[in-house]
Every structure is written in C-alpha cells, then in structure tokens.
Symmetry: C2
C-alpha cells in the first residue's frame, strides 16, 4: 500500500500537510492502514476523506499533566480533550498515588490501555511530597521499580523535591538510580546556578516550572527540555516564548503542557490547542507551534512512531479548518475518527473502579463519629496566634501573628477569621491539625478531600457544628467537595474515586461546580478566590509562608511546625 | 562538585563553549569529574586548563563508517581520527562479517570496549549482500539477534538490499522485525516515491546515499535522518547542504559521516573535522555545523550522554584554536587528554587477534596448489565475448560484446584486454569465475582479497603464470594486495586480519600503499584508476552493468549470469 500498488484503507486527500521533519506545509495525500500512516504522496484508498482547503497536523501531545486535576476518570478526560485535538497525554498520577499507592497507579495504567487516545505514565517520584507529609502511601524505589517495565510507563515523574536532590538524599537518589537511562521529569521553580547543574547531572531532563525569561534560558542552556505550561492556574507561555524569541534560539527544545487544567477551561478555550493558538499569536511560526505540540514532545520523551505525519507513524491526526487559529474540524487516533466539529462530546464507557479506590475517607479513630470537641482550638494567654492570610489570586500565603477572636479561651470564628482543620483521612489515626485562616470572606463552611499532596480532609468554616456536618457529609459520599451553612448541606460534589475523581459525566460535574461557585459568592467569597482551589493548596508544605497539615500549622520558611 | 562546593577534578576554564541546546557560544568554565561533565558555569578544579581565546565543542561523531575500509584495526583507526577531533564512531562491520561471520563481529565488539574513543556497532543486515553472492558467512535474523543486546550495539546496519525490502523478502523482513524498536540504518541511492515510503515504513530511519538535491529533500520529508557523507570516494556534502540551505529547512535532521575514508585522506584533511569545515565554508553557521557533528548524531542514534557540553554528558571535548577553520588544539575523551597539537599520532596497543580471523584465504580445493589450467577461458566459436569495460573515475562498468584476442580457442590477454579471475576463498570450494576486463591499462598482474562484499580473491592480469603467482602470494600472507610482473612479486601489502585489515602501523601501510600506487603507474595504469579500488568493486553484483563473481560474469541489468 505504501507503494500504491493497492489502495490503502483510508486516504486523507489533498490537505496541506505539516511536515514536522522539515517544517514545511506540503500538499499531499496521507495513506493510512491498520492505524499507521503508510505513505505521504499520491494515493488512492478504500475510504477517501476530502481534505482540500484544510490543514492536516499530527495529534497534539500534552507533555505533562495530572489527570486527577480534572476530577474526571481518564476515559472521561480523554473524551473532553480529543475534540480539541489532543491525542496523547503524558500523565503523572501522583494525586491518586498519594491516596492509594500502587493500586492507584495500576488503575491508571489499566485505564490507559482502554482509551481512544494514548496515555503514558510517569511514575510519581515524590510520594509523600516532602518529609513533612504523610498521605495514604509511601512509594520508594523498590515499589516504583515493580511498575517500571509496564509498556505505558515512560519513566519517573516530576522530581519536586529538588532540595533533596541537591542535598543527595539517599532515598531520592535510589529512585533516580532505579530510573537511570529512562526519562525523568523535573520540577524546579527558580532553581539556578550550581543547584540547577546538579539537578540536571542527577539525570533529570525536563522542567515545566519556568515562570521567568532568564530562568527559561538558563534551564535550556543547562540541557533541560522546557515544557511550556498553560493551565488553569499557571500561565507561563507568554513569558517563555517571549524570552526564547528574544534570544533567537529556536523552539526545538520546547514542548507544550497543561499540568493542571479544569474541564470548564478545556471546554472554553481547548486543551493543548490553546497553547498552539497563543504561540502563533505571539509570532511563533505555525509550523513551529504545531511541532512543539507533537514532534518535539515525542522526541523529548522518546516516543517512537508518535508526533509526525510520515510513514511508520501512528495515524493520530488533526484536520484543521484554519491553521493560524488551530480551528479543529476532525480528530483521528490510530486512523479512527473520534470527533468531528458539531458533534457533542462523547460519553465514554469507563473501566470498572475497584473497591480499593472507593471508600478512602477514614476519619474515625475508633469507629466512632468525630465529636465537636476535636475541633476546639485553644488561644494562648496573650491572645495572639499565627494566622494564615490568603493573598488574592495567589497560592502563596502570608504569616500574620494577630490577636484573634475568642470565647472562653478558644478561638471563635468571626470578622474575616475562619477556623481551618485538616483531618488525616487515610489510616483512621484521628490526627487533626487546627489553625486560623484570614481573607477568604466565607460565611459558612467548605470542606474537601482534594488537598495537595496528601489529600487529607480539609475544612474551613465559621461554626464548629457545620464543620462537623461537612466532615460527615464527605465521609458519607467517599470524598469530594461540600458547602454547608447553618446545619444544612447546601451542595456536594461527590468524588468517590480516591476522594479525587468523579465517576459521573463531565456535564453533571460541570453544572454542579458552577452552582457551587455561585453559592460561594452568595456566602461572601470574593471572585478572586475559589474556596476549593484555595483549600487544595493550603496543606502543601512547600509553598510559602504558612500551611496547615494534619500535624498543625507549618512555617515553610522556618521549616518547622509552630 | 556540580554545586561548586568542592573543586572538580578538571576544569576547562574560560573557553567560548558551544551550547548545542540553544546554538549559542557562551563563555564559561566546564567542570569534569570521573569522565563526566558535572557543570558549566563558574568552577574551580584540582586541575585547571586555561582555554581563554579558544573554543570548546563536543567531540565529533562519525555517524556511519566501515572501519575495514581504512585497512586498519579499530585501535589503529582510533589513533588516526582522534587528532582531528572524532571521539565516537558508529560502525557497520559488514566487511569482516562477510569473511568471518559472528567471530568477526565479536572481534569488533571486543576491540570497541578497549578503545580511547567510543565505537558503536550497527549489525550488518546484508551478509551476503545479495542472493547472487556467497561469502564466508551468512547472517540471518537469528544469528544477528545473538548480538542484539551487546552494550555497543545500537541496531541494524545499512539495509542495502532495498529492492528486497520493497518486494517484502521474508528473510530481510525477519531481520527488520528482530530489530524493531532499535535503530535501523538505510542505504537507498535514488530510491523515490512509493518505494521510499515503503522503505521508511519498514522501520529504516537513516540514509547516507544522497547524491542529489531533490533526493535529499524527498528523503528528509519522508522522515529519514540524512547522513552527510564526505569520504574518500563519495563527496555528497556540497550537494546536500546546498539543497537544504536553498529549501530553508534547517540542519536539525542532518549528521555527518565518512562511510569509507582512507588514512592518507584522513591525514591530509582530517576526519569529520573536514565535513565541519566544508559546511562552514558553504555558509552553514558554525554552531549548526558542530551540532551536525555531535548533538544531531547523538539524538538520531539515541546516544544518551553524548554530543553536548552540559551536566551529565561524557567529557568528550575538542578544544579549537579557530572555530571557523575547525582547527584542533587538543582532544579529550571521558575527560582524558588524548592528543594535543604538535604531538605525533600515538601508536596504540591492539587487542589480540584470534586465529579464526587469520588465515582466511582458502583457494585449494583438495589441498593442492591451483594449477594454470584452472585459468583457461575458452572463447566461443564467433570469437565474441561479453567484456567488462571500465569507465574512468566511476565504479559503474559498461557491457561490451566484442571480439577478443585468442590463442588455440582460449582468451589471450593483449591490447587493452586483461583476464580477470575471482577465486572463492572462504570454503576451499575451488570455485572460480573468469572474465575479460577492458580499460585498466595494466601491463602486469594485480590481485586482492578486498572485493566487496564477499571478499573473494580477485586477480587481473596479462599472463596466467603471473596470475597464479599472485594467488600464491596472497595465500602465503593471508590476504592483501599484490603486484606481480614477469614471474616476480613487485610489492605486497599483507592484510592478514580477514584478508581485509593489517596489524602493522599505519605509517608503514601508508608508505607501502604509496609505493604500490607509483608501481601501478609504471605498469601503465592511468591516474584515474587505482587498480585495487577498481578491483574492490568489480565483484559487487549490484552496480551496473557487468560484474565478475566466483560464479562468472553477471549482468546486473538482466539479473543473471551470462
């Protein structure tokens, strides 16, 4: 069929085809059989697709994301991203790993094999994320090695604990050693100089945390491939591409990623397609923008047969109405049409979710419900406490040592002060950390089991009774988001899969999220805060200045519990 | 040491360093420990090398060559190429494989491990080269697979029999299948259209046979990495780079190779260094030229830790006096200095050569010396024979059906007609092919055991007695080149290793070759023919129009023995 001696199964006829090898747009027919491109040139096919006036590009690759951030199962997320041209995902399932350990990873790998797109896995390197945290599981080099040779596994996921790398921490070095010769992803915001050289020397090959132009150039020069992130929270594309353009060094070592992108954003602006369009708008030649979305990522991750339109490559193809706008007409993976413009997003059939991944909310130390006394927070004699002050539009917090409202020697929420509690939810230890948060504006209670990276149960509220009710509500539904006020549950989004993901259709989730967002506003939360997003970072003891974990208030700068 | 907390072993201080990742030349110190670059930046070292005013680039990689073409052992060739900056060779040992089979390959792999540079091996895919040939060995998919996982092996060597690929030959497809997912080199001069697409679809990823601009562009567009060849016989660099520049498609998918380059040429103009200098002279930016010589080749062949100056890369470094001229000052591999300008070429200690590789000339069918009658060539009644006519400066020949000089019904050399004989030399079958050659001008006899690809013993002469003497001379010395006239051996270059390579120092070989070249001129051979080069291709039944093998005269166009 490559030699046109007999018709190919499917021929994409007459498109302007992106040749990623040369960066040219060339008219031609693309012949596909058994899911593989057999030739580009002049072909006839049993089925012929008229592509005249359209452009054909390789399917888009998200070089780094966390599926769990979408709150959808892999199959539901796949359905959401396919219509915007994404045909391969390189995922680090470290959220589910922090809750469920190896069974969580096996669930992701099993799901990956049943998808209409390609899902590759980078095994989470930092579970738990830091020595200050304790989640549902600990993954050491030996346990990670049991999955190393799975065909979906490309290597080791983002090595977030860069101080441990630079300090030569034996446990982390053992993981790096176990994945020597495989791909190892980095995560080193603002790491520079000798530390950055050491981090690269340790075998780490990518970084997706560039938020500064000089940082970008230094990382590229040190040999890192830079993943240009444009997600729901982080927007690094303009900074990175502007720096690279100004330095005149080409885009060959750049690929695109989203890291964390919510469904509403994917539906509004598209997935990797959005990165492409933004890049083109910044003056990057269209061919280079599409190469970043395909060929570059495939080469960085050593994905043979991915990321190009040429013989021996998988027929993962995106047909565009307009290449400058990345306007998608139809999307194919392995030569099979998955979506055409005008069609609704398909509802996928999921793979079964085992009991191990359900019922992960264990907050009762002796089988008894929590009682109200466990939430009592004594105030020191001087009345002053370290308060976690939120900053609008940032995930950083500020430490403020302030006099707080109290009753009978115990903190009493009021003014803009809320009580915060983090309940260990994996091993039913009953451990609980309490603190004071300022700046959310909430009049009511919000609780969530999505709290990086240990994903304990976090609850913020102005009445202890409501906070207890919120905990009970999340126990009942196996985890999720809930809003409570005056003894009444206002709305709940159940996330029964590990307390992180839903098994419901994305539409239902989306409308519920919108309702909860509106409710938050009614409860006084200003538009610059999403209470659940804010809470999700409030436990992560690597972001300055103060955090709250199940062990209490942690000062990140001083690296100690207060 | 990467963090400059203690001094590195060696620091290259103050050079203008090529950053292959960005294409920039940046001032900096390069810190090396245990043979590996640990950092680029500001460093102090136990040993410091003052590099101010010089440029530092990664060691050069020859992406495709045959060590045997140098007639030197791997260690002697390594000594010759190191002073011009070559620090890694990707070799296809198909000459020795045709003579010695797996033991020949094992010799090359063992030699590779003991060299001061890196020698990687692509396992020969076409032994014998075609179904018309029978050499010392047959390497099928099963026997090649026994060496597939050797650490020096990168994949499968040049798949020369492209018609068999396009025809779906089962034996060849089995080899391609056995190396699926590994690197597979191509060799497909002027292959185009659907055939080229099929050849790429078969898993073949490179080509080093581009001799035409449009051919180059078509191969790049089909997804081949193109190896830009500049050897002793083939000079493709200008054609390829001119085409690529005119098309404006960048040099990212190009690497350099020599394929076959003789010692005298290496000494005169350098090895890969010559490709670099020629590229720069054609207007390729110096950074891109050096990238073709290092980073590009390393990426094409998946050589982790090769081809860049950055942390985690091998300290294979070339210090240049002048980067435009590729003027080498000193060469380092694994951080160890191997050569500095002004020093003589080192004389390496070789690895032992086993008896299996010596004494490979077996031309006596029953243990008895060949007699003169075996050279008798009867002439048909009409006196006309198919004559192999040589063409000045080409390896193609022309078929001419001409009346030939004869005595008593047998061909008798005279005028410009010589007798040619090819004696099977591997299995002592006694098989002999006889023919008539026109156009060499030789008055005397020349014989050689270097005759692609089967490397039988080939002899051309004007007197049967001299031809017999030449055969006996090569029997005596285990193969090589010899010149004979009037019952006297004029000169012999012994090639006792497989009849292809010498174990003598390169200087001695070089002066002997010069002497034999001068002798050829005295014997009437015009300057446009080297009798040994000409003879070396006269047996290869893939080059038009007529060839002579141990089975007789073969018409390449008609694909049959006459």
């Amino acid at each position: 069929m490559a030699q046109a001696k007999r018709p190919a199964q499917t021929v994409f006829r007459g498109a302007e085809v992106l040749n990623v090898f040369t960066g040219e747009w060339l008219k031609g027919d693309v012949a596909v059989s058994d899911g593989v491109i057999v030739g580009v040139g002049r072909y006839e096919g049993e089925e012929e697709i008229d592509c005249r006036g359209k452009a054909l590009v390789p399917g888009f690759i998200d070089a780094h994301l966390h599926v769990e951030s979408s709150m959808l199962t892999p199959e539901a997320l796949a359905a959401e991203v396919l219509p915007s041209g994404t045909t391969a995902l390189i995922a680090d399932p470290h959220e589910i790993a922090n809750v469920c350990g190896l069974p969580g990873l096996r669930y992701m790998l099993d799901a990956a094999r049943a998808l209409p797109l390609s899902l590759f896995v980078m095994l989470p390197s930092c579970v738990p994320a830091t020595k200050w945290e304790q989640g549902g599981a600990v993954l050491d080099a030996a346990s990670l090695s049991t999955l190393r040779d799975d065909p979906q596994v490309l290597g080791l996921g983002e090595v977030m604990d860069y101080p441990a790398v630079c300090a030569g921490d034996p446990g982390l070095l053992a993981k790096l050693e176990a994945f020597s010769g495989r791909m190892i992803d980095g995560h080193a915001p603002m790491l520079s100089g000798g530390g950055l050289q050491a981090y690269r020397l340790a075998g780490i090959e990518t970084d997706h945390e560039c938020s500064d132009g000089l940082e970008t150039l230094e990382k590229l020069r040190a040999g890192f491939a830079v993943l240009v992130r444009e997600g729901s929270a982080a927007h690094n594309l303009e900074t990175i591409l502007t720096a690279v353009q100004a330095a005149g060094i080409g885009t060959g070592r750049l690929a695109f990623c989203t890291d964390d992108k919510h469904i509403e954003d994917i539906r509004r602006e598209g997935h990797i397609r959005h990165n492409i369009r933004r890049a083109i708008a910044l003056g990057i030649p269209a061919a280079d923008a599409y190469r970043m979305a395909s060929w570059n990522a495939a080469r960085i991750y050593g994905l043979r047969g991915y990321g190009a339109i040429g013989p021996a490559y998988r027929a993962d193809l995106v047909l565009l109405n307009d290449k400058q706008e990345a306007a998608v007409h139809a999307v194919y993976t392995s030569g099979i049409r998955r979506w055409t413009e005008g069609e609704p997003i398909p509802s996928p059939a999921g793979i079964p979710i085992s009991a191990e991944l359900r019922g992960t909310v264990h907050v009762r130390p002796s089988g008894q419900p929590r009682n109200i006394r466990s939430l009592a927070l004594p105030v020191p004699p001087d009345g002053v406490m370290p308060v976690i002050e939120l900053i609008p539009r940032q995930i950083n917090t500020r430490r403020r040592d302030l006099p707080v409202p109290q009753r009978d020697g115990f903190f009493a929420a009021g003014g803009d002060f809320l009580k915060a509690a983090v309940l260990e939810r994996h091993h039913a230890t009953g451990r609980i950390g309490l603190g004071v948060v300022k700046g959310l504006g909430l009049r009511g209670t919000a609780a969530s089991t999505v709290a990086h990276d240990s994903h304990n149960l976090i609850v913020l509220g102005d009445r202890d009774e409501d906070m207890l009710l919120a905990v009970q509500e999340l126990e009942r539904c196996g985890g999720g988001y809930t809003l409570v006020r005056d003894g009444r549950v206002l709305a709940t989004l159940p996330l029964p899969v590990a307390g992180l993901m839903t098994d419901r259709p994305a539409d239902e989730v989306n409308s519920l999220l919108r309702r909860m967002s509106a409710l938050s506003r009614e409860l006084g939360v200003p538009e610059w805060h999403d209470p659940f997003q804010t809470m999700s970072f409030l436990s992560l003891p690597v972001i300055p200045e103060l955090r709250l974990t199940d062990r209490g208030v942690f000062d990140v700068g001083e690296q100690r519990y207060l």
